[in-house]
Subunit: 563 residues, 2 copies
């Protein structure tokens, strides 16, 4: 159901575009896939396995035409942290076996969410939580890659762990490795800063931009050449090493119930992050192309992809922002491009396994660290600081917790605090006395606008739905506004989007309270759905006061004839 | 800060009224205090101790003139359940010693809440949760009293426990005890059904009502007389037994840190319930007398009362509905009446300790069971069923959990589900296309009202604040409303009570989306506080569209001159 119908073109054109895009994506994703597997604490070839069957599964069920599914930066970091927390209790289980269990659980949870229409749960990750989380996770990734970059033996999945192990490490850095890592980093930075402008002199901007994105591949190629030429593995540089032939190692994940139980809470958090990240990517890219994304279908696609990863020696997968942006720029036209990428990955892995073995891991660390760094966006922090100090604190707090403790705790705290802030907001509504803007039928706050008031009538606007969070305070909000001459209170109900059962009791209490003081209570501009609900109790009849279509009519009507 | 100034009267009148009321309250409260202590699983005299110092402490700090603090029905049941859950781990600790720790913790938590201005937390117990909880707790009290009434040896703190122990009990009932219990129950029921009408023939209604409230005392007196005359204790009837002389046994509660830690979560729940029940009582009675309640002062008073109970061999105390209603009817004038009650309780306990020893416990069970039964209000259940099926489910679910599991779990689940319902409500806002009600400047839903629309202009009302719960869906709510000829969208912002950071991003995304389709987006009737916040980002300037004071002005203005 696209809103702008896609241009009609020959199917062969679409196929050609998709195949071309797939080739570009494949070339770009190979180093990324290896790197994310390493980030997840798994053997590098797992990243390649996770880029084959899962892509096919997503292409069959998903709706996005450009979202590229596969190992992604933040989910890979989370996988590493989650396995690191659980595996010490299971000494016999290899990380790559546990990763399959995690992928299977994520897939099953996403499938359940799709079946039970739980896609609305993704709203739990508010913008401040999400931005803080992404910033903290990307900083953590940078931290985990720093020792790899300079050849230290220190490894860890969070900043404090990395720092502590680096401090205690026998080998804080290693000359040859650091040379490779820092050279790769310098080259990538140089291309990023200058590449587009230099290439732009000879090429059209789109092609120049795409070519600069190929920089990681060029760096990988050069690094392999240098590594082979100087035989660096003999100088202590850790390389990717020989990959086993890709052979679709189909197998069921482990069925140890204790392991499944231990990983389940982590899988829940990972499934939520996977859904949120992937839907955000699909929707933002979808909007640009006038595509309509069906969240439930997306969840089903992601579920299938993770289940596929679980039976093909992969790792948990998601729709990644960077890889999808690549697909978008490369010009994919249908989601079958994912299928072609999968096939090309398989072929490429077969062909390239030999040369990739010589690639120093430090080069992958440079690629992945820089990719993570460029995912961090500080602008929302600045905006939130000005817009809402409370939300800024959430954002910064989640970032700090993600960086210093771990992703799961940060997200749980962030979601809880976001909900608390929302409740607090509804608990303390803004209340305005309103009067008529001269010459109109419009009524505004007497403190902000030049308005006319009717003597003896108090027109009030309570800027919130009547909910349990504020119900108990309703009378104490209205009473201080009463003037000695007030004989009638008119509540403008246009900001009242819903009245829950507690709010209903509060409104009745207010009515009774005003009745004791011989003050009439009238309501104006009750919305249709709210009035429907009130009518189920026969309430507008039972209610003492009158109900007006508009506030202006209420004010014109004057007091009730006989009261 | 009373709104209606109290009538000026001679201080001696006020003192006389307060003393008279205090005498009435004292007489009524003696059996109740004994009964609630037994309900809490404590020796009966604890109820008397808890009715002395805590009342004085509350009178010094609280603000309500009629709220009567002391042992109350629901908190006593909660005390029994909480001690029953924790004490098996502390074999050496007597229940009355643990009750002091619980009271101390409740006092400290309430003091912290008063200092940190956390009184808004009481809003967490929404009306459905509170009503369900009170109904479930009162039914549980009835269940716990049933075996006592007929002289069974079975005891328990919840319905399943009582039923199971009753089933296994060696002594399912005991003739003499049952005779006393059922006779007392019958007498109380008779007075309740007929008492007011009979007495009303000879007395003015207020005095008749007050006299019927004395029925429990009359029943107690008769029961003591009968018990002494027939020497029933020799026939196996359990009586209250000799009370130790009241001697203000001042002492610090136990300081075992493990016990304090084990009781702390329960104390948190009990403090919340104490605060909610007491504030509700103080506010509802305060409203009737034009008294202004200061929630923080109330919390401070309740904190002091519980701390006083903790150092004087009492039990956790609260402002009870039934005892406060008694104080209200008896005509207390200042909160010093509580002080007089405290002193009279001490004297009365001294004088009455002898006769009370002969009182059969079954009579107290009849009083307490009937008091609990009459606190149950089924009307809200019926109303909620019609008003909101989701809230009815919360209410019934909390009642069932309270009755069948325990109070703590029921409250935690109830609060969580209430918050989830609120979030769900904000997540799926009602969206209305609106048009002008002919002859007015008022705009309403085109589906409900006969209205005039302007061709090419889509006027929309989204009935919710723009929050993280609905932000991600904003574009997908607006886009389906677009018509092929739509060139301009005007959003009516009067239902938008707040825009959080996520909502802001969504509004920007919507603006960008419509810009791509060459559709203008204008906003009307943005509230002052919302616009203030937007201005901190310089946003109304940066925003592409125009902002109008009223929707009518926006519709009159037509499209922007040059776009």
């Amino acid at each position: 159901m696209t809103l702008r119908p896609p241009r009609r073109e020959a199917p062969s054109d679409v196929l050609r575009d998709d195949l071309l895009a797939a080739a570009i994506i494949t070339i770009l994703l190979i180093p990324q896939s290896l790197a994310y597997a390493l980030l997840a604490g798994l053997p590098p070839q797992v990243g390649l396995y996770a880029s084959f069957l899962p892509l096919i599964a997503y292409a069959l069920l998903g709706t996005s035409q450009v979202m590229a599914v596969g190992p992604a930066a933040v989910p890979s970091l989370m996988t590493a942290q989650m396995l690191g927390a659980v595996l010490p209790q299971f000494p016999g289980v290899a990380p790559e076996a546990a990763a399959l269990v995690l992928a299977a659980e994520v897939g099953l949870l996403l499938a359940a969410a799709a079946l039970l229409r739980l896609d609305a749960l993704t709203a739990l990750l508010s913008m401040p939580v999400l931005q803080g989380f992404v910033a903290g996770a990307c900083l953590s990734i940078v931290a985990t890659q720093a020792p790899v970059l300079v050849g230290s033996s220190a490894r860890g999945t969070s900043l404090p762990e990395v720092l502590q192990r680096w401090w205690q490490a026998e080998l804080p850095w290693q000359g040859w490795t650091a040379a490779f890592g820092l050279a790769a980093l310098a080259a990538l930075l140089l291309v990023r800063w200058r590449g587009r402008r230099w290439l732009g002199r000879w090429l059209p901007p789109v092609q120049a931009a795409l070519l600069t994105k190929m920089a990681p591949l060029a760096v990988v190629g050069l690094a392999i050449a240098a590594s082979l030429a100087w035989e660096v593995a003999q100088h202590g540089v850790r390389t990717v090493g020989a990959l086993p032939r890709i052979g679709l190692p189909l197998a069921w994940p482990l069925t140890d119930p204790a392991l499944w139980r231990a990983l389940l809470p982590s899988a829940g958090v990972l499934a939520l992050v996977t859904a949120v990240e992937s839907l955000a990517v699909a929707e933002s890219l979808g909007l640009k192309r006038g595509e309509r994304i069906v969240p439930r279908r997306e969840l089903a696609g992601l579920a299938a992809a993770n289940l596929a990863a679980a039976v093909s020696s992969g790792q948990p997968v998601a729709g990644g922002l960077s890889r999808s942006a690549v697909a978008f720029d490369a010009g994919t036209r249908t989601r079958w491009a994912g299928l072609y990428v999968a096939l090309m990955m398989a072929v490429a892995a077969l062909v390239l396994a030999g040369p990739l073995a010589a690639l120093p891991r430090a080069v992958l660390a440079a690629i992945i660290g820089l990719a993570a760094w460029s995912l961090i966006d500080w602008r929302p922090f600045r905006q939130a600081w000005h817009y809402d100090r409370g939300e800024f604190v959430v954002m910064a707090g989640v970032a700090a917790l993600t960086l210093l403790v771990n992703v799961e705790k940060a997200l749980v705290v962030g979601v809880a605090v976001s909900i608390a802030l929302l409740l607090k907001r509804t608990a303390r509504p803004h209340v305005a006395r309103i009067g008529r803007v001269p010459g109109t039928e419009h009524y505004r706050n007497v403190d902000r606008h030049q308005v006319e008031c009717t003597p003896g009538v108090l027109a009030l606007r309570i800027d919130e739905s009547l909910l349990f969070t504020n119900a108990r305070q309703l009378p104490s909000e209205v009473v201080p506004q009463l003037q000695p001459d007030t004989r009638r209170v008119v509540l403008l109900m246009s900001p009242v989007n819903t009245i829950d059962f507690s709010g209903l009791e509060a409104l009745e209490a207010l009515d009774a309270l005003l009745a004791e003081r011989a003050i009439a209570l009238d309501l104006a501009e009750i919305k249709g759905p709210v009035q429907d609900r009130l009518q189920t109790l026969g309430w507008p009849q039972h209610f003492r006061g009158r109900i007006f279509l508009s506030l202006h009519q209420a004010m014109q009507a004057g007091p009730a004839a006989a009261d």
